[in-house]
């Protein structure tokens, strides 16, 4: 899907600017100057013939859509593309057999690598929950979605864990509000 566009610490050089512009203008099919969910979805591949997970597309766009306009502009798109390329690199790292899918063991390695401590049985639950292709393995888009949800839950937990000891105490209401926004 394209090389890493730029290092976040350095401004883009001319070549990178041209490359970025050509990628984003190819994606912005209706030339509206903004990239919508649909346009991004069409530009992405999950390694199968099925469309990229629209929920994942929505999550990604909303991460970079500063003004809540429902799409990303030229500048925000650079962030989107880098984000996706980063995920691609991670996916490739853990898809050890290069099947284009991450199986249970590879998922275990990936998430353990990120620092999660999850039971073996729970990985069955994760795959059942996120694997839209129903192959017992996760495709690229579903892998991203799984990680995004785990990340959101972690973020919401952290907010309540004021002394950072890995424990929280919450009321019933707080628990419902925390969770209903995420899962």
């Amino acid at each position: 899907m394209g090389p890493r566009l730029y290092n976040t610490n350095e401004p883009m050089n001319e070549y990178q600017m041209i490359n970025h512009f050509s990628v984003s203008s190819r994606v912005d099919k209706d030339r509206s100057g903004a990239i919508s969910d649909t346009e991004l979805q069409q530009a992405l591949s999950n390694g199968t013939w099925t469309p990229f997970n629209p929920v994942t597309v929505r999550s990604i766009i909303s991460m970079f859509d500063r003004e809540k306009k429902g799409g990303v502009n030229f500048n925000e798109f650079a962030g989107v593309w880098k984000y996706i390329t980063d995920w691609q690199n991670i996916f490739r790292t853990y898809d050890r057999d290069n099947s284009g899918f991450i199986d249970k063991n590879e998922l275990k390695q990936a998430l353990t690598g990120f620092g999660y401590r999850l039971s073996d049985q729970f990985y069955n639950t994760l795959i059942e929950k996120f694997d839209r292709q129903k192959r017992g393995q996760v495709a690229f888009d579903d892998f991203i979605q799984c990680c995004i949800v785990l990340q959101r839950l972690t973020d919401v937990f952290r907010r309540y864990d004021t002394d950072q000891d890995g424990w929280i105490q919450v009321s019933y209401e707080q628990y419902l509000s925390m969770v209903f926004n995420v899962v």
Partner: protein, 184 residues
Amino acid sequence: MLATKPLLYPGGFPGQQQDPLYGYFTAVAGQDGQISAEELQACLTQANFSGGYRPFNIETCRLMISMLDRDMSCSMGFNEFKELWAVLSGWKQHFMSIDRDMSGTVDPQEMSQAVSSMGYRLSPQAMNCVIKRYSSNGKISFDDYVACCVKLRSLTDVFRKRDQAQQGVATFQYDDFIQCTMSI
């Protein structure tokens, strides 16, 4: 496909009473006597559970399985299926009693009343969170209503288990929080 063999005793168990639900269940369950989310969806559709309403979508069926999935097998046996049927029937009655015009949807206010009358005590903010998650265009469909009920029930169970003193406050360790919440 419904079984066509005229068995007196379903499953070949002598003396077993003919439970109408058993017929629907075994038609999809297969050898292992367990059903997956897809099979549950087929089963409920075949039994015309939703009646005049649209059939359940697959995600709602997955939620239903995990609500009763005690052994984390991601599938459901006949006893759980019976339990589910009873619970679903109650919710359906409830929904139908609010959906006076049989439109297949209820508005947030009606949803809020339904949730309260099921016994959940939620603040307006928490209630808003819940309803926002399940409305489309300001309305809640039967399928979404059921998904919401399932989730509330599951989350309440999770919470109760960690509220040792029954004071309405639960303690969660991080790894446990991630796993129990994601398992719903």
